[in-house]
């Protein structure tokens, strides 16, 4: 537990000066503030809501100067008080720090800090001087140059925003929106490409944790972050597409530095991309004949046109990597084979290729008319792309409430089912699928049956003829407030249908990983990994994406690809897992929920987000053409202008130098 000497947070003053550390009650609200990295205590912390000093010997002027230095550097330069105020404050603090402070100087600093906090346009300017203002108000006696300022390395500053922290890949969302506002879509795309190569794909199918965290939610609607991403990716598509070439790799490693990536889905492509950029020689082994994994076979082309995806998976080859298609782990090669072939490390991005059974009576996957969700989508994909036969007749019932279930119902409609039903055991509000997907399915004519669950599969002569369904009801909330569902006895009834699609989940195909590979699965059937390093139970073998996390999202898979590339780089070139100060800072922010709890005290004009142009429900029921249409430049500028730019600076002062840099 950490003990606060003095500070102000959210306007609450804490003052334990005069007490010796053992007398100070440990602060239960501050978790993980003891050490920044191993053996390096945090002496002070400064954020948007105030500051806390743990070590009373800290030179507060020095600490505030660093904080304002970072704010000044980060200022976008558009609004006056932040552009000019931040460097003026920084320079004035530098004067004090050098022993040239004066009463008049402090009055000036205070006036500038007030001006910045009260009149800046975005949250960066509004929040950066808050700690300084609190210190001036409550602890002026500490605002004299103390001992020698700490070396700059002893601490770090981190700039972030709620949308950035919410994103698994930590894409600098306000930054790429800034570049759109500035009229530089090329640089905007570049910001996204720092994290993954699949910007146009993500701009179409991402589940948008960023938008959920968007502070505009408290005003009107979140910024259309996803559509802006698609805008910049599409802007730079086709003839004007981004040109990747091996000459953009800063340092090529020796030929022996070879890594095998197993699986050419989002996790594998992302991992390969980042390994290639780090100079490794990368081969991607893919069971299918095309790259893309679940993004290819699991997402219908009306949401993600296949040429868009292919242009982005091709990046691997443009950077000098190679795809080896038709190579399935467990069938065509083993992990031992890979090491024997000279690969120094292996990344497993196998995905979850096997659908989960419903687990009801008389369920037999070999029945005609029975599909798992992902098998169904794969058949749809093969039908649409390659003309493989897939004749759907009669009524289709899809069980499940996630995005895969939505993809299944919407695809079934397009393939000519006479009626399409969605069976879900909870309420519509409980569905994990995207709200937009649910709405689109309803508009297109899918019939929803919520609080209903199958209890038996009905078949005749080896083909599906229906299911027994049972009605469900919500239970009373348990102690944690969770509401479950339970069957209502006696409500079983027969439901006639010709096709049943079980879209309730996917798992790792256990046949790909025989015990002899030395890669163990965990109790949920996923590849067991160390969550920090993504290393599996076998040395040199790393795993990420759905096979390690269970069926999840594209953005999670791509984030794990990047994380694995870093871990493999650490393993092969550094021999140990390196300390990443920003990752550490994120954990500190996350564990203490430091980004939450802001509200808007002043009126803010409502500006509703742009409507994304869509094919009409009538048109789209008949086609696999992309439903969402691109937005115009004028619309992109308008949407980008809605971003409130919720940047804020967090700084720590530490005892010794922080390994891995000051930012």
């Amino acid at each position: 537990m950490v003990r606060v000497s003095y500070g102000v947070w959210d306007g609450v003053v804490r003052d334990n000066r005069g007490l010796i550390p053992v007398e100070i009650a440990p602060d239960p609200d501050l978790e993980g503030f003891e050490y920044f990295n191993d053996g390096n205590p945090i002496r002070a912390f400064i954020g948007d809501r105030g500051f806390v000093v743990f070590d009373p010997e800290v030179d507060l002027v020095d600490a505030l100067w660093r904080h304002m230095d970072r704010a000044a550097e980060e200022s976008c330069g558009k609004c006056t008080p932040c552009r000019v105020g931040a460097p003026l404050i920084r320079d004035a603090l530098a004067e004090v720090r050098a022993g040239r402070g004066s009463e008049e100087g402090w009055q000036r600093i205070a006036a500038l800090a007030h001006q910045m906090a009260e009149t800046s346009l975005c949250y960066l300017g509004q929040s950066s001087a808050n700690a300084l203002l609190a210190a001036i108000e409550h602890f002026p006696e500490h605002l004299k140059p103390g001992g020698a300022p700490a070396p700059v390395d002893n601490g770090m500053s981190y700039v972030t925003a709620p949308c950035v922290e919410a994103c698994p890949s930590k894409v600098a969302v306000p930054r790429y929106i800034d570049f759109i506002k500035d009229g530089r879509p090329d640089l905007s795309l570049g910001v996204i490409l720092r994290k993954y190569p699949m910007a146009a794909t993500c701009g179409r199918v991402c589940v948008r944790f960023c938008e959920m965290a968007c502070r505009r939610n408290a005003i009107d609607e979140p910024v259309g972050i996803k559509i802006l991403k698609r805008y910049v990716a599409d802007q730079q598509a086709g003839l004007h597409g981004p040109i990747f070439s091996p000459d953009m790799i800063p340092t090529r490693l020796p030929d022996s530095m070879r890594v095998a990536v197993v699986g050419g889905g989002p996790a594998g492509v992302s991992c390969a991309y980042h390994l290639l950029l780090r100079g490794y020689h990368v081969d991607v082994l893919e069971a299918a004949e095309v790259a893309g994994g679940m993004a290819r076979s699991g997402i219908p082309s009306y949401r993600l046109p296949k040429d868009v995806l292919k242009a982005e998976t091709d990046t691997v080859e443009q950077l000098g990597g190679h795809f080896r298609f038709g190579q399935a782990l467990g069938r065509d090669f083993t992990i031992d084979d890979l090491f024997e072939q000279g690969y120094k490390a292996v990344f497993l991005g196998l995905g979850c290729a096997k659908g989960t059974l419903l687990g009801v009576a008389d369920e037999d996957p070999s029945l005609k008319g029975y599909f798992s969700g992902i098998d169904f989508l794969l058949e749809v994909h093969n039908h649409v792309e390659y003309g493989a036969p897939l004749a759907l007749h009669g009524e289709v019932a899809v069980v499940g409430g996630g995005n895969v279930a939505m993809d299944c119902v919407r695809s079934a409609l397009r393939l000519g089912a006479s009626k399409v039903h969605l069976i879900y055991r909870r309420t519509e509000a409980d569905m994990p699928a995207d709200h937009e997907e649910i709405e689109a399915a309803k508009q297109e004519g899918v019939i929803f049956h919520c609080l209903t669950n199958p209890s038996r599969i009905l078949s005749e002569d080896g083909r599906i003829v229906g299911m027994d369904l049972i009605d469900m009801r919500q239970t009373v909330p348990d102690k944690k407030g969770r509401i479950g569902v339970e069957p209502i006895p006696g409500t079983e009834h027969a439901f006639r249908c010709d096709v049943v699609v079980a879209a309730i989940g996917q798992q790792v195909d256990k046949q790909t990983l025989p015990a002899s590979d030395g890669v163990q699965l965990d109790k949920w059937g996923c590849v067991a990994i160390n969550p920090q390093t993504l290393v599996t139970t076998r040395m040199g073998v790393f795993a990420g994406g759905d096979c390690a996390s269970g069926a999840s999202t594209l953005i999670h898979a791509m984030a794990m690809g990047l994380k694995a590339a870093r871990a493999i780089d650490d393993y092969l070139r550094h021999g140990h897992a390196r300390f990443f100060p920003r990752t550490r800072m994120r954990r500190l922010l996350n564990e203490n929920k430091l980004l939450s709890g802001e509200c808007f005290e002043v009126p803010v004009a409502h500006q509703y987000r742009i409507d994304i142009p869509n094919l009409s429900p009538d048109e789209r029921r008949r086609t696999f053409e992309e439903v969402e249409k691109p937005i115009t430049a004028a619309e992109a500028y308008r949407e980008a202008a809605r971003c409130l730019r919720c940047y804020r600076v967090y700084s720590v002062v530490t005892e010794t130098a922080v390994p891995g840099g000051t930012r």
Binding site: R83, L112, H240, H606
Partner: protein, 604 residues
Amino acid sequence: MEALINGKPIAFEAGDTILTAARRVGCYIPSLCELADIDHAPGTCRVCLVEERRAGQTATHVVTACNTPMEEGIEVFTRTPKIREMQKLQTELLLADHDQDCATCVRHGNCELQDVAQFVGLQQSRFANPIWAKSRPVDRSSLSITRDMGKCIRCQRCVAVCRDVQGIDALSITERGIGTCVEIRGTLVGGESECVSCGQCVMVCPTGALAERDDTDRVIDHLYDPDIVTVFQFAPAVRVGFADSLGIDNAEGQIITALRKMGADIVIDTNFAADLVIMEEGTEVVRHIRQGKRPTFTSCCPGWVNFVEKNYPDILPHLSSARSPQQCLGSLAKTYLAEKMEIDPARMRVISIMPCTAKKDEMNRPQLAKNGVPDVDVVLTIREFARLLRREGIDLAALEPGTFDNPHLGGYSGAGAIFGTTGGVMEAAVRSAYFLINGKELPNAEVTALRSFENIRTATVAVGGGLPDVNLAICHGLKAARDVVEGVLSGKYDFDFIEVMACPGGCVTGGGHLRHKKAYQAGAPKKRVTLFDIDAQRVIRQSHNNPQIQHLYSDYLGEPMSERAHHLLHTWYTDRKKEADVAVKEIRREIRLALPKAKASERV
């Protein structure tokens, strides 16, 4: 809905900001970046501070009036000591990184920043740091517009007008912090960019950051060089350009007198050349209609010509080959006029006074020169002309109006006069084309069907002579022009003849007019009306009936589109479209430079 401003109850409307509501009741709040005429309120200057208290709350908050919405029961205070102090400090901060060499500034005495500094009562500038202002670039690469970023206050009005009004999007914002400024996007070697030099950005700049390239020195040099014969011409819209500042609706006579007073040797009228262009272009259009070649676009607007060359080279064959009036007149001055007046053309300097910044760049087109000598030597915008008057100590308003007196190039019809406003070229062309086809005059010279003001207007006209009805279109503002071109290319539109003027409103709102503070296109409707009035008062309303035009053809040119006319009055265009490849390597390098200083590669 009701609220209080400074304790007085006021009514406001849905969608009002504090600033719009306050303005409506006559309550002044200083503002700088905001420009209502183009619906621009980026909230960057932070000068329009007020205090507000929401209904039911006790605390007040400081907000910017320009982008804070009014709400029921809100109390707004605009003149509290705190607000006055904060507005003053904000202005001081604005000046801190602003080049304050005001006496030499092109905007001296007409600057919105100076006004704000006076309003807030600023008497000092404690934070001024000249190095900050000097750290930003001065761009003199353009032939028409200079951009001094040391004077930029980051209001982004120029960016907004270029994007939203003109649809060109040639500007982008670059750098960060104190270095933040506006640049021309993707500038290539040789100054090629998407900029078409229309100068609408200059018209909205609140300070001296944007200005025309100043060529008054060159004119003074020519005026006081005894070996030089100066030939001045001025455009249709120039004579109405002083309506607001001097209250003279039509200053034609005063301008003539002023030029003579300065020592101009020959003063001729661009209106005459407008008549000439109608003869050439009208003949060309009728020929195209007879050949079934459609559509034909006008070519008298150099901003439009730049736009086509840079964006739609495919339609260049459809641009009329007729030169613009100022270039026709320059060409004739150094040939016909020189011959008639027995002046060595090498001694001649043709100086145009234009409502336009793009004309400054047009005169440099290599195809508008003879043996490397440009037909027009200097183009002054109206602003430079006004500066020239000040430099020569001439008060335009105090002058007795003079008249044109050149016997060779002069005199104009009503058709020539209306070239300066949207629809004017089309109307003039219709008058003459009708005569050309039918051998008789259009019954009513005023084609009112063409006189509305929408950005895109169309009309179908029966021209007789056994020809099918012709479809005409008029558009002004490049956003509308883009729509029309896209429509023509996609087959949505089917027109025979299309008039395009790059500036919204035509030359009466050109980028070379005098600037107004806090207003875009102030006085433009009045200027348009004056041009139509001039037309209405002319005895001769049609270009082909201008006796001096008739004489020019019989004496020198032969007939429209003759060999000689082709040589002197027509031109050609070039494909200047640039296709940029996007190398990710380059993007990554640029982002590293754009991000906060060192170690950017390690950062998000």
